[in-house]
């Protein structure tokens, strides 16, 4: 008998699920494969002799395993997902329907161009939308995700500087930046200097001007920034950077707050990646895959990676060999085609006016949360926000409840927690991004839940918080042991030891 006195370990519909390897048994299989007709394997003696260790299961066992796992998940399709800095927005079903059309789903990048004219036109059309929405003259479509796009952008900047014979060694990054920014700069061979924020959570212009020198290759700036705030001084910032002979790399992770309202090209951007999985509703989290096209200025465009789509009287074709200035390839083939289909479907189904409303509603929803929670939580900065709202843990001071405890309590209340302890510049940060997907009703429910939790913390119920989550598939996990002594792979039990 188990601890709970139930042999199955299940509790009602909360099913305990062993690893698939633990369920497997030798000799069991879900398929009836024909026996090889000959022993002559033609592998020249390199055929595998031992078992390969795959679990033996029947088809219903496999289906149940993955279905049960999926039921332990929390997803945007189950409820509000307030994870900040991530933009977990609804993935419209129309996108999925179009991405499954055989003419788009079943084509291969090595097919003759004449047989995939529609696919190439789709890439070209999406590129046109991205250039139009950002006000930039060129776009590299192949980067496979945001950080990959950052790398692409910084590599074009490096190439342009080297062409000028102007080798520079440093990249400036605001201290609130996402960790991928300094990581990208480092990977590109630059040293990174942090630029402090002012008391309003924006980049400190005076500090930036001090940090700029003939040694600085670029400033990497997210706008709106990671605190959910629009960089008000962006024009002066871009001017200062350009005057110093450096480039402005914009991290477009939060473009969903601006799309249709502001064109980054007008703000002085030289390069910016666009996370299709954030701004343009392609799936995000749990496998995406991501997609991170990079828009480029006139000066950086010649260095864009291969390939790109052009079109003339003969139709659409891929340019796979440049004039030698370009970066070469950053990815096999032309990019995340499945995501291109979904992103273009999103753009065309919303239209330009609809995309503008997406940004408006995302900002409105975040400000609604901010306004209705400001008296019980403590906003990190004064004033309104853009697409996400940020609180510090001042409201928990003296309660014995931490940001982590608060997040765990939200799980019991039926929500995926907000982003916590990020950005690092804010003490015990709680970062919430509702996105435009949420109705006022659903925001109101979340607000009431959050307010009730804040009240409970103030009432001195710390012990209850420390015991959360009680209704999740697992109770509080030991994060310290998980980080200090991670168990990264399953190993079959040692038969000798068991015997």
């Amino acid at each position: 008998m188990s601890e709970r006195g139930i042999t199955t370990e299940h509790r009602a519909l909360m099913l305990e699920e062993p690893l698939i390897f633990e369920q497997g048994a030798e000799g069991r299989t879900g398929v009836d494969l024909p026996r090889p007709q000959t022993d002559d394997d033609r592998l020249g003696g390199v055929a595998r002799r031992g078992p390969i260790g795959l679990p033996g299961l029947s088809e219903p066992q496999v289906v149940r395993h993955f279905t049960r796992l999926s039921q332990k998940n929390y997803a945007i399709d189950m409820g509000l997902y307030p994870l900040g800095s991530c933009t977990m927005k609804h993935n419209p079903r129309l996108n999925e329907r179009l991405a499954r059309l055989p003419g788009l789903a079943d084509i291969h990048p090595l097919q003759p161009e004449s047989t995939v004219q529609g696919g190439l036109e789709l890439i070209d059309r999406l590129a046109h939308w991205l250039k139009t929405l950002t006000g930039m003259p060129a776009v590299a479509m192949s980067p496979a995700a945001g950080a990959h796009g950052e790398l692409c952008g910084l590599m074009t900047i490096r190439a342009a500087l080297e062409d000028r014979g102007d080798t520079r060694a440093r990249v400036l990054v605001p201290e609130s930046a996402h960790g991928t920014n300094p990581a990208t700069a480092t990977l590109c061979g630059y040293s990174v200097s942090a630029v402090p924020a002012n008391r309003n959570g924006r980049i400190d212009l005076a500090a930036l001007e001090t940090a700029l020198s003939a040694d600085v290759a670029a400033l990497m700036l997210t706008n709106p920034n990671t605190c959910g705030l629009f960089e008000d001084d962006i024009l002066a910032v871009a001017d200062a950077v350009h005057t110093a002979g450096a480039f402005v790399y914009v991290d477009g992770a939060n473009f969903n707050a601006l799309v249709g309202r502001v064109r980054p090209g007008d703000l002085g951007a030289d390069a910016m990646h666009i996370n299709l999985h954030k701004t343009f509703s392609t799936p995000h989290g749990g496998g995406g895959p991501g997609s991170g096209p990079v828009v480029l200025s006139e000066e950086l465009a010649p260095y864009a990676p291969l390939p790109w789509v052009v079109h003339d009287d003969a139709g659409f074709r891929l340019v796979e060999h440049g004039d030698g200035k370009e970066l070469g390839r950053m990815k096999a083939f032309h990019g995340q085609m499945g995501m291109f289909v979904r992103a273009l479907a999103y753009m065309m189904s919303h239209g330009a006016d609809g995309l503008r409303q997406v940004a408006d509603d995302a900002v409105l929803n975040a400000n609604y949360l901010l306004a209705r929670l400001s008296d019980v939580l403590t906003p990190a900065y004064p004033g309104s926000c853009m697409h996400e709202c940020l609180f510090d843990d001042e409201f928990l001071k003296g309660t014995g409840v931490t940001t982590l405890d608060f997040a765990k309590a939200l799980i019991d209340a039926g929500y995926h927690p907000m982003t916590m302890y990020f950005p690092l510049v804010v003490q015990g940060a709680l970062l919430m991004e509702p996105t435009e997907s949420e109705s006022k009703d659903s925001l109101d429910r979340f607000i009431e839940t959050t307010r009730a939790l804040a009240q409970r913390a103030r009432d001195g119920d710390a012990a209850w918080f420390h015991a959360c989550p009680q209704f999740a598939p697992r109770r509080r996990l030991d994060e310290t042991s998980a980080a200090r002594k991670p168990v990264l792979r399953w190993r079959p039990p040692d038969k000798d030891a068991a015997a």
Binding site: L424, E479, T480, A483
Partner: protein, 125 residues
Amino acid sequence: MSDLRFTKDHEWVRLDGDVAVVGITDYAQEQLGDVVFVELPAVGKTVAQGEETAVVESVKAASEVYAAVGGEVVEINESLGAEPGIVNSDPTGAGWFVKLKVTKRDEFDTLMDKATYDAYLAEIS
């Protein structure tokens, strides 16, 4: 311990002759939470005062540790590799990070003493 000096970035330093022992303060470990990884510099490396000399990673965040005084790294605390939790349990003792051979003694004198650091903590928290 009154012979400790402190930085605004929450490092402490103690002088043994011309060797400075550097670590992070109790306040710093409290703010970080359980430390899970410490990256230490190579012995023989020279760092200037205020330069990054180590990285400390907790369940919440990764933070740089700056050299409270400049000098050459003469010893690193190898035991933090297997047991980073010592930083939490004994931050100003067994949880030290690096020992530096000090070149400019007056850098030590510019740092905060305990009373000044305590007043600084009261001000920021």
